[in-house]
């Protein structure tokens, strides 16, 4: 049984308010049958230093990625990951995490590849919950294992591969990396390790909209109006556009994918998870360097 939606007025303005919950809503609903809270962080130890009571941990790196092939886990493994955490196919899953919910939206996107129907983000994530002085615990929950069906991952609707992007050239692309990565000056995020792209720059025609522009100071999402000002007015994107978002490995662009799809109601947004670590290494794909979008 899905839980009722959060009727908070800020959320109500978004295209799909059912995809977000506020911290008061979560505090009121903790422990309700049918709800599982999931923490997904960049830092693999952060959950263990303290988490929302009852929340389980999913690690994007060691659990959502296949350990051998560069791909996500398959349906059988995803079913295990969910089942062990007490998540059934009709469970309401609320995900939160560090760094403006960057890794939380990444986990939500992977849950969406498996068509999990009711998966939501805690607006403001871990930072807001902590800033409000809400309860944290180091007590490990012991969820009752449930049966999650083995569902085949659907990579067609919200995921783009390199060939899809090549066929998409000329249509809207959003590069969500930092300006230095976009122009090609940097081969990796500022302050992050080099991850082995041999060429710098961006995909021809891509607009540069760093992902964190969608986040407010308190790590919540900006209001519908402010988001619309960035993506629709400033960038000229429209909800009926066919859009591909990318970054370095597809994590930051999951955040933008979430904003465009669920907050602004875009209908055809795909996340290119191969992103720059694939494109910047691929042979003979077109690349543009500098601050201009360039032509496809």
């Amino acid at each position: 049984m899905a839980l009722q939606n959060d009727t908070d007025p800020k959320l109500a303005a978004y295209a799909h308010p059912e995809r977000l919950v506020t911290t008061p809503w979560l505090a009121d609903n903790l422990g309700t049958p049918g709800l599982v809270v999931v923490e997904s962080d960049e830092d693999v130890l952060l959950y263990d230093t303290g988490h929302i009571p009852g929340a389980v941990k999913v690690d994007w790196h060691t659990e959502l990625n296949d350990p051998v092939t560069r791909d996500y886990v398959d349906g059988a493994r995803f079913a295990e990951i969910c089942g062990e955490r007490g998540i059934g196919r009709d469970t309401t899953v609320v995900i939160y995490g560090d760094r403006n919910n960057w890794w939380a939206t990444y986990a939500l996107w992977v849950f969406s590849l498996f068509g999990h129907a009711d998966v939501r983000i805690l607006d403001g994530g871990r930072a807001k919950w902590v800033a409000e002085g809400r309860e944290m615990t180091t007590e490990q929950p012991k969820p009752e294992v449930v049966e999650y069906p083995v569902v085949e991952r659907d990579d067609t609707a919200i995921r783009a591969f390199k060939d899809d992007v090549l066929a998409h050239l000329g249509k809207p692309l959003v590069d969500v990396r930092s300006p230095g990565e976009y122009s090609g000056e940097l081969l990796h995020m500022p302050d992050y390790p080099q991850e082995g792209a041999v060429r710098g720059g961006h995909i021809p025609g891509a607009a540069s909209v760093p992902w964190a522009r969608a986040a407010a100071e308190d790590a919540t999402f900006k209001s519908r109006e402010d988001l619309s000002a960035i993506y629709e007015q400033e960038q000229g994107l429209s909800p009926s556009d066919d859009v591909v978002a990318y970054c370095r490995i597809g994590e930051r662009s999951s955040h933008t994918w979430f904003v465009l799809t669920h907050l602004l109601g875009f209908e055809h947004v795909r996340n290119y998870d191969g992103s720059w670590t694939e494109w910047g290494n691929a042979v003979r794909v077109p690349i543009v360097q500098g601050a201009e979008r360039g032509q496809a």
Binding site: V44, L45, D48, T49, H61, D98, D191, Y192, P193, E195
Partner: protein, 142 residues
């Protein structure tokens, strides 16, 4: 591979347990990272940033008159993994002779067996930390 005794002991501790307990060990180490002494507390700009770590990590290296190495780290509490890596360096290398620190193999961290639990990508911060420590030790002992 010859490691300073404290580092050798840490490597043995990690090797003795399974992947889940290795994370617990790293968490405990992250809590044991000493606070910065006052002379660095207000002087973060005199420290070197380790850009390869996921989260801001600052490092200072001192070599005393007896050519022993002293290490100082600063990393925020919301970055426990980075703090854990720094704590491994501190526990294993602080107070050791410069020559011993320089002799630590660059890939010593492989022996900690953290790749599975932490992921290889996150481990890069650790090798970067060691190479920056060695660089500063070399500069100081010239």
């Amino acid at each position: 591979m010859s490691l300073p005794p404290q580092l050798e002991e840490l490597v043995e501790d990690f090797a003795a347990v399974g992947p889940k307990d290795r994370l617990q060990l790293l968490l405990e180490l992250s809590r044991e990272l000493p606070e910065l002494p006052e002379r660095y507390a207000d002087a973060a700009d005199t420290m070197e940033q380790v850009h390869e770590c996921q989260s801001p990590l600052f490092l200072a290296v001192e070599v005393d008159d007896d050519k022993h190495v002293h290490l100082f780290f600063s990393a925020p509490p919301e970055a426990p993994t980075t703090r854990g890596f720094a704590s491994i360096m501190h526990t294993g290398l602080d107070g050791e002779p410069a020559a011993e620190v320089l002799a630590v193999p660059d890939d010593f961290y492989v022996a900690l067996g953290l790749a599975q639990a932490v992921s290889p990508l996150r481990l890069r911060g650790m090798s970067a930390m060691l190479s920056r420590i060695k660089k500063q030790v070399r500069a100081a002992t010239g």
